[in-house]
């Protein structure tokens, strides 16, 4: 059994820790779900690892690669359990987080008692540093060290555990931040120190400072957790170096992660999109929509040319709105995979208001007490309850049969809370709940496609998450999307995504000049500096034989507008011709996104370099020994499921996904079950299984969802 090469991905979520183990030689994939251990998440990871290794009969020594994503930083923020952070800001601007960028939106605007969510910065731990650097980087006022030392001394009684140093214009001249950091280190040798010029050296003081404060806030706990995990892995004999997932969908080394804890926010969902992009690519689809639905939220992302779309800002600790936007939370400026999120999931509660309207959410039964059918005391009907009544879920095979659920409770909750008040049958009510859930989730897909001028019909949807494959075909029909891809093991797709992500580091510098009079030599020099730094980050990977690459990009904006867009630069020497080409690309993209063809001139706002090292992809998944291409052989039994186009309930074959070999094809109505998810394929649609064991569903039109195709194109008046 010696000499095996295993890759392990471990994704800690709120309820479950998912592990996926891939044998790099045989291609065998093994999944394992354990409960998250909130007090010490490393314990759950280790327990899961040992369980997974015993499943594949392997030893810790066989683990050659170990990639990890965790919700720990997000939870620290949501639960306000991070470090006591002292925030050092330029004199005159110390009230930054007391003034804040958060404000009431949506229904909160009419709440006259609205309170701002408390900042993670305690105002009493804020120190103003007497210093000033000008916009061009020149020193206007040197740091007053005596004043600083006296202020640090006064701070000592409050025992700060971490420091965030965020001085104006430090992105262009970091000398003051470094000097201040030295003084802090001398006085507080054990504290974690984050500098805004390290965390994200780009102009926009608020977002840069938020990212820095966040790094300081989660840093100590995150670092000690990562240290513990690394040690424990070493102790049990795992030779692999620990790698950490970033919010932008790339992985990084532990030492880099320790300096950049903020970069791990929302990294699990990012890994999911990476997995979806991979599934799409392996099935020959470069441009896809990723759709991830769990218990409380649904998230949609866009992948073009095989690559997920990246946004440069994310709000941390906010709630998902019905229009798919993050409305609250602190904006932080780091690259993240662009996801639209709506607060709709299996746990969303359906209710009837005083005026006879059926409504869904925003309240969720979450995992406690959970949907009524969980029999854990929940009496409110949820989307999951509706799906059970409609026959889409099997009471006996919920979570692979590991969990007992009671369809009578689902029936009762829907009857009492929805059907009777509305004068509907229970089935009609369930159908209504299912449709409204789809309408809510459609908002997330709309946000990443139509709202950006992108036609969803050109994009197959890759669906994952426990509940995604159940709703996805109906959702596709809403948008006239003709193809859906359900990858194997959709319930643990984020963990799988960890193992196929490349290592990458993003570097940025603010560099502002008009595009027409850009000094090409100077630009070259700045790129050369940044590239050298970036090279340093991946030299280790290259020495280990990985294929590496450097990519350059410019941030560009119209001269009279503030919105910047990142535009990739071709390889090769930078010259005026290349800048012209980049400008043309920028204008074309603006036109596509916003329908505006501006005569305004363009400005360069920043330069970016990404250094990456390729990860060797796993071999194709192995096919179960019992699998055949005869679909009949995979039918476990038939059950009654409700489909509009079938006119009501029809006997629907239930397929065991493990028994479907590549090349199998069959028509809907069909339900395909696997331990972590259920795929529903309505009549008029058909399923085929490809080499990757993905289900490719050809989506037929449905009566109630059809939109006339020719009218759907996007054009301004």
């Amino acid at each position: 059994m010696s000499g095996r090469r295993l890759s392990v991905g471990a994704d800690i979520g709120g309820t479950f820790t998912d592990l996926v183990v891939i044998d790099q030689d045989s291609g065998e994939i093994t999944n394992c779900k354990t409960l998250t251990t909130a007090d010490d998440p490393a314990k759950g990871v280790l327990r899961g690892l040992q369980e997974a290794l015993s499943l594949v009969d392997a030893r810790p020594e066989d683990v050659q690669r170990f990639v990890h994503a965790t919700t720990l930083p997000t939870n620290l923020v949501l639960e306000r359990k991070g470090a006591r952070v002292a925030c050092l800001l330029t004199e005159g601007f110390g009230d930054m987080f007391a003034i804040s960028r958060q404000y009431p939106s949506g229904a909160d605007r009419f709440d006259m008692g609205w309170q701002r969510p408390p900042s993670i910065v305690d105002h009493e731990l804020t120190v103003e540093v007497r210093e000033r650097i000008k916009a061009g980087g020149k020193v206007a006022l040197p740091v007053d060290l005596a004043d600083l030392d006296a202020k640090l001394e006064r701070l000592a009684v409050r025992a700060p555990e971490a420091f965030a140093i965020c001085l104006l214009h430090a992105y262009i001249n970091n000398a003051h931040e470094r000097l201040v950091a030295d003084r802090v280190r001398a006085r507080f040798p054990d504290a974690t120190i984050s500098l805004s010029s390290d965390v994200w050296p780009e102009f926009r003081e608020y977002e840069r400072a938020s990212a820095t404060v966040l790094s300081a806030y989660v840093g100590p706990t995150f670092n000690s957790y990562i240290d513990r995990l690394r040690q424990s892995l070493t102790e049990i004999g795992v030779p692999a170096q620990l790698k950490i997932m970033q919010s932008n969908g790339a992985i990084m080394g532990v030492s880099e992660a320790i300096d950049r804890a903020a970069y791990t926010i929302e990294s699990g969902p990012a890994a999911g999109v990476i997995a979806a992009a991979y599934s799409g690519r392996m099935s020959g689809r470069q441009d896809i929509i990723s759709f991830d639905m769990g218990g409380t939220t649904a998230k949609a992302g866009l992948v073009t040319g095989g690559q997920p779309r990246i946004a440069q800002e994310v709000r941390v600790g906010g709630k998902a709105s019905s229009s798919g936007q993050r409305e609250a939370g602190e904006p932080i400026r780091i690259p993240v995979i662009d996801l639209a999120e709506v607060g709709a999931g299996g746990g969303s509660i359906a209710w009837v208001d005083d005026f006879g309207h059926l409504r869904l959410g925003p309240h969720s039964a979450s995992s406690h007490p959970g949907p009524a059918c969980y029999a854990k005391g929940g009496t409110e009907p949820t989307t999951t309850d509706a799906n059970l009544v409609l026959g889409y879920l099997d009471a006996r095979y919920f979570n692979g049969g590991k969990m007992n659920i009671d369809p009578l409770l689902a029936h009762k909750a829907i009857e009492e809370k929805v059907a009777r008040p509305l004068g509907l049958s229970v089935v009609e009510a369930a159908r209504g709940i299912h449709s409204i859930a789809n309408a809510h989730m459609g908002a997330a897909i709309r946000m990443v496609t139509l709202q950006r001028g992108i036609d969803p019909r050109d994009h197959p949807i890759v669906a994952f998450g426990g509940a995604g494959p159940l709703h996805i075909v109906h959702l596709a029909q809403m948008f006239n999307i003709t193809e859906v891809i359900v990858p194997i093991s959709p319930g643990v797709k984020s963990a799988f995504g960890l193992m196929i992500s490349d290592t990458a580091y993003d570097m940025v510098r603010t560099y502002i000049t008009s595009m027409a009079d850009a000094d090409v030599d100077n630009l070259l020099e700045r790129f050369a500096e940044l590239t050298e730094e970036a090279e340093q980050m991946i030299v280790g990977e290259r020495n280990r034989g990985a294929e590496t690459a450097i990519m350059r990009a410019l941030d560009i904006a119209y001269a009279h507008k503030f919105q910047t867009t990142t535009v990739a630069m071709p390889d090769g020497p930078i010259d005026a011709g290349m800048l012209k080409q980049v400008e043309a690309d920028f204008r074309a993209e603006q036109f596509q996104l916003f329908g505006v063809d501006s005569s305004d001139s363009c400005r360069i706002m920043g330069i970016r370099v990404r250094a990456s090292a390729k990860t060797v992809p796993p071999p194709k998944p192995t096919v179960d020994a019992s699998a055949t291409t005869n679909p009949q052989a995979a039918i476990k039994y038939r059950r009654s499921a409700w489909f509009l186009d079938a006119g009501g309930f029809v006997e629907t074959p239930v397929y065991d996904r493990a028994k479907l070999a590549p090349g199998t094809a069959f028509a809907g109505p069909a339900i395909i079950e696997e331990p972590d998810s259920t795929t529903v394929c309505p009549p008029g649609c058909s399923v085929s299984v490809d080499d990757m064991l993905s289900l490719l569903i050809a989506v037929g039109k449905s009566e109630d969802m059809a939109i006339t195709a020719k009218e759907q194109s996007y054009e301004p008046t």
Binding site: G92, F93, D95, M96, A98, I99, S100, R101, P104, S105, R109, F110, D111, M112, G113, W114, Q115, R116, E124, K134, A135, L168, H169, F203, R204, Y206, S323, V352, D353, D354, F355, H357, L358, L422, E428, R431, G432, S435, I436, A439, H440, A443, R446, L450, Q451, Y558, K561, F562, Q563, F594, G595, V596, S599, A706, I707, E711, Q712, E715, P716, T717
Partner: protein, 567 residues
């Protein structure tokens, strides 16, 4: 076909999503941080009887204007005369508008060859001519001073540009390319909302959608009516004092409101409100209605669909020739304090029945424009402050945050971005000590912004309230601090500017301090929690002197201990 309750929810979602998306598309295409944060972009959908069926949530400060302008539009261009691809434009504040720079456009949604719905978008544009750049002349006394008046006109004819109309408008503005870009943004939003509405018609058919619209309007009216029915029947009266009329700083004007609640209906009668002002602080009828609609929603379920049914549940009377419904050719651009008057007089009227919702007075929006002298590289910086919120019953005002109608963040801009962009430097951007009105619950502290200009330039300042009287305290709370424009603060040549001043010359090196009024306080300051006072001292929001003087609390120098001092 789906069952009714489900269909209704689906159609409502889809209509609201269409309006929301139209608003977002406009914001994106406009690409201005000022617009995206101030929420001044409204997008709404109407049926052919001119009844509103959905509106975006973001465009609250124009919540009623799109609706009223659309009603005016239909009197000039009946639906029968509309062709597919037509776009109509209007800005006249005597026809439902707000002021000249707020431009609204409308387009019909055709389905199977027939118009079925109308969509409209309203947004402030960079300039519309008039006395000063940016369209907010503080010294205007007539609409003609404020900019080009555009009555309802056909701006696109069946999808074709109208070069004549376009040329006329652009000949009257200062930066035609920028204004054209703003118009494009409005068209983008309009096109987006139209497409979404069309999809809905294609999915369900016009008859079904219109049926559901009927139902949704009744539903909103029923919800609003039920909310109003919860208010005890009776008459309620409130008033609100506005300082200065925009022409004479010594004038004092009053907004008066008498509310009659009768079962499921209520009416707001503003008879007794002062006559229209000579200066630009008048509030067009649609802005006054916005104030009423916004405030009423604060007392009801915030999820009531924002459609015609909501408006049917109440009526509002704004006497002709008053501050709230001025007659031609009154100027209206500096109306914000007057809108606060509408909101404040209603809140005061409801104080006894809704003590928990009572809120102390806010300060009003103020803006400064600094631009270069002719000859140099052109630049123009607009710095705005949307006012500061008062204290609530049981909660301090949110420091550095405007009243909720404007809903914009305190740290709105990037200081670094401004310093890169303009020849200016910020000296500070901080909460102003002792600015929040003292009270058991303290009014929000305002922000002190001090800007140093590095090149000679022209300064224009506009504000409309709290220069002479601080934002009112309630239930024994004290007023907030006064608003000020100060040149060269702390220097020998320190000078206070009047609330409104057009084209004041500034030499390089001068500083402008922009300080709005603090929010009013709530309740007796002597009842304030001692630790809350000490915390305010530690946070630099209240000085030790004021802690003693206003709150009767002696706070030690380190702020760590404090005790009550009985007078």
């Amino acid at each position: 076909m789906l069952d009714d309750p489900v269909l209704k929810e689906l159609v409502q979602n889809a209509l609201e999503a269409a309006a929301e998306e139209g608003g977002l598309a406009t914001v994106r295409a406009a690409g201005s941080p000022f617009l995206s944060s101030s929420g001044g972009i409204a997008c709404a959908i109407f049926d052919l009887d001119g009844r509103q069926v959905a509106q975006n949530a973001g465009g609250l400060s124009h919540v009623s204007a799109v609706r009223l302008m659309q009603k005016e539009l239909l009197t000039v261009f009946p639906v029968a005369e509309m062709a597919e691809g037509d776009v109509f434009i209007c800005n006249d504040h005597f026809r439902g508008g707000v002021h000249c720079a707020d431009i609204a456009m409308f387009t019909p949604v055709f389905f199977e060859g027939e118009p079925v719905l109308l969509v409209g978008v309203m947004m402030i544009v960079s300039d519309m001519g008039g006395m000063s750049a940016g369209g907010l002349p503080a010294n205007a006394t007539e609409i003609f001073h404020e900019g080009l008046i555009i009555p309802p006109l056909r701006y696109r004819d069946a999808g074709r540009r109208r070069p004549d109309i376009e040329a006329l408008i652009l000949a009257n503005v200062r930066i035609p390319t920028k204004v054209l870009g703003d118009f494009d943004a409005i068209l983008t939003g309009l096109g987006t909302a139209r497409m979404r509405a069309l999809e809905l018609l294609q999915r369900y058919g016009a008859a079904t959608v219109l049926n559901v619209c009927d139902h949704l309007i009744n539903y909103a009216q029923a919800m609003t009516g039920a909310g109003i029915a919860a208010i005890p029947d009776g008459h309620y009266e409130g008033d609100y004092l506005i300082e200065a009329d925009g022409f004479d700083e010594r004038e004092r004007l009053t907004v008066k409101c008498r509310i009659t609640v009768e079962g499921k209906h209520c009416s707001f009668d503003f008879t007794g409100t002062d006559r229209q002002a000579r200066g630009p602080i008048n509030c067009s009828r649609s802005q006054a209605l916005t104030g009423v609609a916004f405030t009423l929603r604060c007392y009801l379920d915030p999820t009531i669909p924002l459609n015609e049914g909501f408006y049917k549940a109440f009526d509002a009377h704004f006497p002709e020739g008053s501050l709230l419904n001025p007659t031609f050719p009154a100027a209206c651009n500096l109306r914000m304090a007057t809108v606060n008057g509408v909101i404040g007089s209603i809140n005061k009227a409801f104080a006894d029945v809704f003590p928990a919702k009572l809120i102390a007075g806010p300060s009003a929006p103020m803006t400064a424009t600094i631009g270069n002298v002719p000859g140099g590289k052109p630049w123009a910086l607009v710095e705005a402050d949307f006012g500061t919120i008062g204290a609530r019953n049981g909660a301090d005002g949110v420091d550095g945050t405007p009243p909720q109608l404007y809903s914009s963040p305190g740290w709105m801009r990037s200081i670094e971005g401004y310093e890169i962009e303009f020849p200016i430097e910020f000296e500070c951007f901080r909460l102003m000590p002792d600015s929040g009105g003292p009270g058991e619950w303290r009014g929000a502290a305002t922000i002190l912004k001090r800007i140093r200009i590095l090149e000679d330039g022209w300064l224009t300042v506009r504000s409309s309230d709290t220069f002479h009287h601080g934002a009112a305290g309630v239930q024994g709370g004290k007023p907030g601090s006064l608003a000020r424009w100060v040149l060269n603060e702390g220097r020998e040549d320190e000078e206070d500017l009047p609330p409104k001043k057009t084209n004041h010359y500034l030499k390089a090196g001068s500083t402008l301090s922009l300080v709005n009024g603090g929010g009013g306080g709530f309740g007796d300051p002597l009842k304030r929690n001692v630790e809350a006072v000490a915390r305010d001292v530690r946070h630099g929001i209240v000085t030790r002197e004021a802690a003693l003087h206003d709150y009767g609390v002696m706070v030690e120098e380190d702020g760590m201990s404090a005790k009550k001092v009985t007078a």
